[in-house]
């Protein structure tokens, strides 16, 4: 059960990290 919770947290964090990186760099480069 703990491992499933950890997996969900990792997936959400990774998706958030990747999206945040994409947004930040698009803002930086597109300026």
């Amino acid at each position: 059960m703990e491992r499933m919770k950890a997996l969900i947290i990792v997936v959400v964090l990774m998706a958030a990290t990747l999206l945040a990186t994409a947004l930040a760099l698009a803002h930086y480069r597109g300026a």
């Binding site: 059960m1 491992r3 997936v11 998706a15 990747l18 994409a22 760099l25 698009a26 480069r29 597109g30």
Partner: protein, 442 residues
């Protein structure tokens, strides 16, 4: 040990994120102010990240021991699935954002586009096909072997996308650093794919194990025993782990690779898997003969009471063939004279379905571990005077007694049975941190 594993997991995740974001980072350094506008750049960023994720999918699915160890292969493949959906969404947004950002909707609608745009479109369509086939394999009634054959073609996606990006993307056509990075990503994919699909299978075939025995356990359950070739040692494993076996028996019998739990104890030299006839392949297990060749790849998985270590109070709740990882743990506890108190609740349909009944009784007759076995039958015969019906809160509470806040629960069985057990344990106030489980489907 647990802390070391956690740090290794964090390090792997950081490396993963860095590789996935590498395209963005190098592009941002080499070409900061493009003047294309935010939306257009977001479209390009999504493509760079999406393709980074797709490239790493080949690493995630390559069954690399060093990468799998802190997570378990089952979780790694679930992560692979989740990331495939994320990559698909990002790559679908890529042309939409480019269109919104100034490229115009004809990017999506115009059929008279150069071949490199069509490569990108084809890659996206193939990705949609792969995500659909994998996400809806069961409703689509797609057999595992056929699905695997189709899924192997996913390499085409990265090929098409790599060419599309290299020829179309302004960053790649202009900057040497991006061209080098592109080559590195392609190399990662090629190495992971070639190792997983070619190099390792060849090496496993060269050092193939031999079947040393085939034993019938019940009317539809068989145990096959395997030993490594002369002069080589069997790989080390923890009780409860699984391996992939690829039987090459000839005689017209299918030679497919499947994963099965290791049912033997790590203390012995022989490796056994106990297999229930439940599908096209497993129905052909019985004609396996001693001397047959079998390529074995393992161990994988994290479902083992030895990972925690030191737990003295254990409850195993299993359904049907879900007994196999627990049997490995119990055999190990017997062989190492473990000072533990264990309760096994073994659910089956009929008495004839109970696997390892005699051996379980023998272990229960010993003192290390102290084992109590309760068989629960859902379709008992008239003469059965043991427990019957499905597992529920009342039955668990009665069989287990009061939860002492130190007890660990291990659950393995068919999906509906496991859901019942989880619900009952939750109602009894057992926190998820003290429940470990394994689903056989990867």
């Amino acid at each position: 040990m647990a802390t070391e594993r956690a740090w290794w997991a964090v390090l792997l995740l950081i490396i993963y994120a860095l590789i996935v974001c590498s395209g963005l980072i190098v592009a941002a350094i080499s070409h900061p102010g493009t003047g294309n506008g935010f939306v257009y750049e977001l479209g390009r960023s999504f493509a760079l990240i999406g393709i980074g994720i797709i490239a790493m999918q080949f690493v995630l699915s390559a069954r690399l021991h060093w990468a799998e160890r802190p997570f378990g292969l089952d979780m790694m493949l679930r992560y692979h699935k989740a990331m495939a959906v994320l990559a698909f969404v990002l790559l679908l947004m890529h042309p939409v954002l480019l269109a919104l950002g100034g490229a115009g909707w004809q990017l999506l609608t115009n059929l008279h586009k150069p071949w490199n745009i069509w490569f990108g479109r084809a890659a996206l369509l193939l990705l949609l096909l792969q995500v659909t086939l994998s996400g809806f394999r069961q409703p689509l009634r797609l057999g595992f072997e056929r699905w695997r054959l189709l899924h192997n073609q996913a390499a085409l996606i990265i090929g098409l996308a790599a060419v599309h990006g290299r020829v179309t993307g302004e960053d790649f056509t202009t900057f040497r650093s991006m061209q080098i990075l592109w080559l590195v990503l392609v190399a990662i994919v090629v190495i992971a794919y070639a190792y997983h699909k070619l190099v390792r299978p060849l090496s496993l075939a060269r050092h193939a194990y031999r079947v040393t025995g085939v034993r019938q356990e019940t009317h539809n359950v068989w145990t096959i025993a395997m030993e490594p070739p002369a002069g080589r040692k069997r790989f080390a494993f923890r009780p409860g782990q699984f391996h992939f076996i690829h039987l090459r028996r000839g005689r017209g019998l299918p030679g497919e690779e499947h994963h099965f739990t290791i049912s033997s104890s790590p203390t012995g030299d022989t490796l056994t898997s106990t297999i229930k006839e439940s599908g096209d392949f497993t129905r052909t297990i019985s004609p396996t003969r001693p001397g047959d060749v079998v390529a074995v790849l393992g161990p994988y998985g994290r479902f083992s009471c030895t990972y925690r270590g030191g737990d003295k109070d254990l409850v195993f709740i299993v359904g049907g063939i879900g007994i196999t990882p627990i049997m490995s743990m119990l055999r190990d506890m017997r062989d190492t004279a473990a000072d533990a108190n264990a309760l096994l609740i073994d659910c089956n349909h009929t008495e004839g379905d109970i696997v390892f009944r005699e051996e379980l009784d023998q272990i229960a007759a010993g003192t290390r571990p102290k084992l109590r076995v309760v068989h629960v039958l859902t379709r008992p015969s008239g003469s059965w005077n043991g427990e019957s019906n499905h597992i529920d809160r009342e039955k668990l509470a009665r069989l287990m007694g009061t939860d002492d806040a130190k007890r660990m629960y291990y659950v393995c069985g068919p999906g509906p049975m496991m859901r019942n057990v989880f619900a009952a344990l939750r109602e009894l106030g057992v926190p998820p941190s003290r429940i470990d489980y394994e689903r056989f489907a990867l």
